[in-house]
Symmetry: D2
Subunit: 318 residues, 4 copies
């Protein structure tokens, strides 16, 4: 509830805001470890830092490396989830839960304890299930095209594409995701073949976008499911709020609680160093910096968001 | 961000609202199981249902059994946490984490894996650590008095007391909490003796209050730490938001994610059948109905809150 | 130490013994569930029951369906382990442990906690690692041929072969084993590709033999590593004893402790319904009956072994 | 099956044997860590090393510090188990399992997963359940007296007593055992009060004996339940073999598998540095050296037993 902040103060100079936040986080550039999850990700310059803030009128305010494209990785799940819920609705929850997952070492543990039903759609195992449901009975390539088309339309940029190098570069990481996917399949919770599902999953994660595009694309989640510029309804208000709730409780693996505690905005981290957050009623923000903390959230990116909230009071908790 | 809702509609008739919500949830009276955790709790009439909504001007709107006292149980932790953070500040986080706990069976598992540092302050193990820190170096009785005084002052009712029957009635439940406490002690994470800490914990849980008092008492958490009526600052805005964040990610054991998904408000369940929720910028609401779902959250109470949010749009996620 | 039994009684009539034991266990035919792990295994007649006892002079005494071939499944690991230790020696223990695994649900849990190093070579994950080490740097087919040749030579029957139907029939089961194998690979504990290793593993499990052949083949493990008939040394005494120790502590998944408790002989169960046990200093015994208990050990087979030990005192514990 | 070894060689010079074994292990004196589990145990001289071998004629051959008394700790469970099985028989297995426990971190995990039924009687949680069953409906002191009387009679030494310092010295260790015991009680698996049961357990663990006494006392387990000297039947052969089986699969916490692998004798480790092992048909051996390996088994003690088996071939696996 931000009315107080909004009413009590002069109109915000968004450009000054993002510039200031970039400055706040600047000394954290290069901190943390660049993902070695995929060789292709490991080659990114660790000193990159970008921020983009999209607001309800469609304007996007950027600072730093906000126009550099990076690998979305798990951020893509937010969009795949929106599309999948549009297709299958609440039936999705027969295949995946909506509780926070606890620690990362639990990934496999919980999958086993809960018989192949992942804890929530925002951990890897859950995202794999979302991909399976998105494919449904159509050819797998169509699911990838659907996500790409959606992102191109949401961000108004037809050039968004997949980094084929990253798709290739699934060695160690690929093995772990294959282990998860085969376990889910063994539990009878996949409708399509493991390889088809993983193909969609790997390609979805390998989409490259920049902060500007991602902030713009996520605006509908800050406005109860409706794109505030085009007035297109992407999903109904209840669904939009629920996606935000999942992002808040589960968007950052085993530091989701800490993220909510420090920042208080629904968000989703990707191991490429991006973090996408929604500011209900205000807009969406995307930060990017490749250095990750121990829980694989962008270190400088999280600092930037923390400073943004400090400067504006844009927590959902007041 | 509720400005849209607030601006777009006529002033809310709060009394009509709570009456309507009571009606919505009425058919769920008696559903679920009354806690058999403590014999003293098991004797409560399962058909009770009450709701109280406190708003920023200090008025409290009630319906149903909102003036019946019930056992707070874990709801008390919210207030103990507020007090403890006032004493020890961020040093508390050396002793307890702030991540969601995952499933209930994990209580002991996680405690062991994380070497006696509970996952968050809102699960039993965490609440025990909060009690230990609240005691500090003072006599244990003073900690209990401090909580009681705080609740009396917050709710403006000096008659609030402890149900000694419930304190006595710690048989099976007592054994499990003792197991947790001794494990924490074995890990070197308690400053006081197990029996002293448990004494404070059991007495804090046995405080009896009604919906009206609890909603009133929690108002400060909906107004950035300041009591909106008396203008007393209970805690600073950042701390208030953080307590709300913990309630949202971890306030309902292993259905915290589901609660956030369905209701979207910071809340805390107690096994006595109460649920206390904050509505940032608007007020606080307390519902009570003794029948619990499988995860020990009041079944009719959660329905009432879901209906309240449906009728008002009071989710933090827009 | 069986000298007492042996010295104190007249020479045993082995044929009468196996006949009697068959009778003892006969009423358990058809109890338990036939493995539905693989469709090809599910078609076996559940009323089959066979027993074969091979003694130091090379004679084999049989009763019931001891000449019917069945799918060895995990029993094959005993022989693969013998061969692998011959190739890589103690270096194997860098890749797999030798502690009992605990409950079956732990399979994946433990693999994760121990970073891809399976608990012991006799659970599925461990057998997969043994296959990888057996392949070494040679073509995978050679590993399969080596196991087949070894079994043909040990049992003196060149017709032993692989049931290609069973190899094909890796649907659900295959997915779970793939999940394990990819996890091990993700942990850096496989030298060969997952598909190559699984190919050897699946083929090794699909070897079909009968009780007579298996009892004969295992004789070396009852005589300190030397085939008592041919006097060929298969492995040295210390290694032979160690393989027996692993069978005793870990040969039957999560009912290894119960098997040791009831029967007291080193053994290995297979989900095809076979159990192979060694009787140090005396011989080897193989029983087969397809109905499995909850922990996937042949139900009638375990009863037969229990009766054998009751009738003879052939426990290692006296 | 040791007949080969026994027949093939001249009568063993047992004194020379224990002297040689002491020499073999001597360079490991002082290796490992002395238990800091209890302050009273931490004061023991780490360089102590003793061995005693009792044989079927009742003679006991000793070397080194075999007449120094040390704290039995968990070794006492073997005798408590023998007595308890005598009282309650197979009904004990309703309260405790007989499967190996897996890793030590599982202690609490498994207890929770299996709802308060410990994995086996030889881990702490299981020993607590054995004490509860041994008490039955009698006064707790009688259970302690029964164990003491049994040990005095078995070893022929009436001076065996309890080290009251060790009983007192239950600080950190006490807390962990209390945590286990309260969890078992919370699960409804204790008949007596936690404090009564722990009192028996702590006192039983604090009995002090020397290697000579312990080896003599355990002889019945090497001779099918009958004391080979007095011909008193302590338990029937089946029960004796089963206790040996439990020792082999579960006698050394999470290195039971390794102990079976290396040594191949039923044994039980205590955190006071003692290891008691039975040699079916031959005798019993007790070693003592206070330095423990990571899994709390005497390091020099295990080496001594390994050398003993190397020198004699006294593994149960041939």
């Amino acid at each position: 509830m931000l009315e107080k902040n909004i009413k009590d103060q002069a109109p915000i100079d968004y450009q000054a805001l993002v510039d200031a936040v970039l400055g706040d986080a600047s000394s954290y550039r290069g901190h943390g470890d660049v993902s070695n999850y995929l060789p292709a990700l490991a080659q990114v310059d660790p000193n990159k830092l970008g921020i983009a803030l999209a607001t309800g009128d469609g304007s996007v305010h950027v600072a730093g490396d906000a126009d550099d494209r990076f690998s979305m990785q798990s951020i893509s799940t937010i969009f795949a989830l929106s599309l999948t819920l549009g297709h299958v609705g609440g039936a999705l929850w027969n295949h995946v839960g909506r509780e926070p997952a606890g620690a990362p070492f639990n990934a496999l543990v919980q999958l086993e304890e809960e018989k192949g039903k992942p804890r929530n759609p925002l951990i890897n195992a859950g995202a794999i299930v979302v991909c399976d449901q998105l494919i449904g009975r159509d050819p797998p390539e169509e699911a990838v095209e659907e996500i790409l088309d959606f992102l191109r339309e949401r961000s108004g940029d037809d050039s968004i594409d997949i980094d084929e190098n990253v798709v290739m570069s699934e060695s160690k990481a690929g093995a772990l995701n294959r282990s998860l996917a085969y376990f889910i399949a063994a539990s009878g919770n996949l409708s399509n073949s493991v390889e088809d599902v993983l193909n969609v999953y790997f390609r979805q994660c390998a989409i490259r976008m920049n902060c500007r595009q991602l902030a713009r694309a996520a605006l509908y989640l800050a406005f109860d499911g409706m794109d505030p510029v085009t007035k297109v309804e992407i999903c109904n208000p209840a669904r939009s709020r629920r996606i935000n709730a999942l992002m808040l409780t589960s968007g950052h693996y085993d530091n989701s609680g800490d993220f909510a505690f420090r920042i208080g905005l629904p968000g989703k981290s990707g191991s490429g160093g991006g973090i996408l957050a929604t500011i209900p009623g205000i807009g969406a923000v995307c930060v990017w910096s490749p250095g990750l903390n121990a829980a694989r959230t962008s270190l400088a990116g999280a600092v930037a968001l923390e400073k943004l909230v400090e400067r504006t009071g844009w927590s959902v908790f007041i």
